[in-house]
Symmetry: C2
Subunit: 311 residues, 2 copies
């Protein structure tokens, strides 16, 4: 058995809802917790819920100027934001000041970021590519102990890409991506699942802080390979939609020759490569403008050492 | 057997997509038909597809200033629109000039208006309260002959209320309301169903124009009784979501004591009235701001006389 890794206890945890203002599970949960934080209380650490993008929440839109969840990169955090810049740049800097600075020893210990998707992603756990041992131990704990079953792990950017996500501000982070849920709608079933997973994540931190030894494990995660766009006309408009056989089939293997799109003329477009992959974020509303019909991912197994609090 | 009613043939039919700019089945179908209208062609009448609110479509939002589909009322159509007014008022006047004027003998014969909803409404046929005999015969024909099954009829405003909908511009009208589909997303399954119902509606007009006698019938339709709001905190924010037992149960009878909402504290709110009703538009994203969690409807049976073209 490999030697456990020792990490310091976690004292300050932030939970963000409304990083995207129309993803309502997190928006309503965080607003509720700001009124009544009792269910977030644990004995060994402090939890701070907050609304990521209040102006976007107010208007019930993803963002008002630019996607806040792509704004936590050095290029935005380290420039002087002027009045003519999008408000999200200023907001990212504020958040970085309160919960970071990103990459520093003053940063919060953990950031949990709550999202929804219109894709049939179930209860997906999102990690950044340079994920911490603590974060993936949390995922493993959720998969093994949470009453919400089937929480696949997805790494949300390609290796080497700078993490510009909200969760990258703290020392460790995890984003929840629950779907399918339309933008601007809160479904009771997904709200309850998100709440249960958050409670389980906090329980994990409590156990860690109290000295529990979390054994070594192997775990599967989906790694992005490519973002696939819709077929488009020369004017840039899409010329086909996700094929009915692919719709809602997130995390299911797609093979050469499988149907991928259907044109408005009724023609099927098949996967003409010779690669197999697991599509995710299939038909996510917010990704039409990002020129993404789905992400291609591969499944990898990661061996992780045991973890315990440093005494 | 009752005497048939005789009506003049239909010569000009308009099909609108994008009355709401983020309801994508109609947006993409109409854009496709503007490029290739061949599937709309029939021998006895002319079909004109058009985009209802192009600026909203461009931004992928329901509307930019005010809801276009509540703007076809005399108060908006008959005032001089100034530059400071919302663009939808000007657009409603343009549409009224091209396809109306509403209530006049110059108006187009038929307006088919294509919508989506985030609610589980299936393939719903929407009529205005003062529906024409021709429109309800079209619904009956769709219910009996269309390969898309289960197309419930819903009257979309209370009796006596002025019709301010797009479809009210022409002499006869029908709106399709297909769901569930998130805003900003096109699902292939709903796109295909909408296309099939449109073809069936055009087939009905063709048969009517060719002199087919459509016999008398009785038909069920859902009539709105009340719009029910979410429970709210004093500050106006919602304090509960649609109960998981009610979510997706559009057109299913709700009885006294049945659960309706679930508060963020986890408490169930039951229907405490002594009325039974059929809820529709349950958890429609666009209705949060209209303070509507769902519509209560009752089911009524309408006896309709036979219909034939006047010779």
């Amino acid at each position: 058995m490999s030697q456990p890794q020792y990490l310091p206890p976690l004292r300050r945890v932030a939970i963000c809802g409304g990083t995207h203002g129309n993803e309502m599970s997190g928006v309503y949960l965080v607003k509720h917790w700001l009124q009544d934080p009792s269910e977030l209380q644990r004995s060994t650490f402090q939890v701070t819920p907050f609304v990521g993008n209040p102006r976007a929440v107010e208007q019930c839109v993803r963002y008002t100027g630019r996607d806040l969840n792509r704004t936590f990169a050095a290029a935005f955090l380290n420039t002087k934001a002027s009045d003519s810049d999008f408000q999200e740049i200023q907001r990212a800097q504020e958040i970085n000041q309160i919960f970071g600075p990103k990459g520093s020893s003053q940063a919060y210990d953990f950031m949990l970021d709550l999202h929804n998707t219109t894709a049939n992603m179930g209860c997906c756990l999102l990690l950044k590519s340079e994920f911490s041992l603590l974060s993936i131990h949390m995922c493993n704990y959720i998969q093994k102990h949470c009453t919400v079953r089937h929480c696949p792990i997805l790494v949300c950017q390609a290796s080497g890409e700078e993490a510009s996500f909200m969760m990258s501000v703290a020392k460790h982070g995890l984003a929840l991506e629950l779907g399918p849920q339309p933008q601007g709608v809160a479904r009771a079933d997904l709200l309850a699942k998100m709440r249960t997973i958050v409670a389980c994540a906090l329980d994990f931190i409590e156990l860690f802080n109290k000295g529990t030894l979390f054994p070594a494990f192997e775990i599967e995660a989906y790694i992005p390979v490519e973002r696939k766009d819709f077929p488009r006309y020369p004017n840039g408009e899409i010329s086909a939609v996700i094929h009915p056989n692919l719709q809602d089939k997130d995390f299911q293997l797609l093979k050469p020759g499988d149907p991928v799109f259907q044109t408005f003329d009724g023609e099927d477009i098949l996967h003409d490569g010779d690669d197999t992959f697991f599509p995710v974020f299939i038909n996510e509303a917010a990704y039409y403008e990002k020129k993404t019909a789905f992400w291609k991912t591969k499944k990898e197994t990661f061996a992780q050492p045991a973890l315990q609090k440093a005494f």
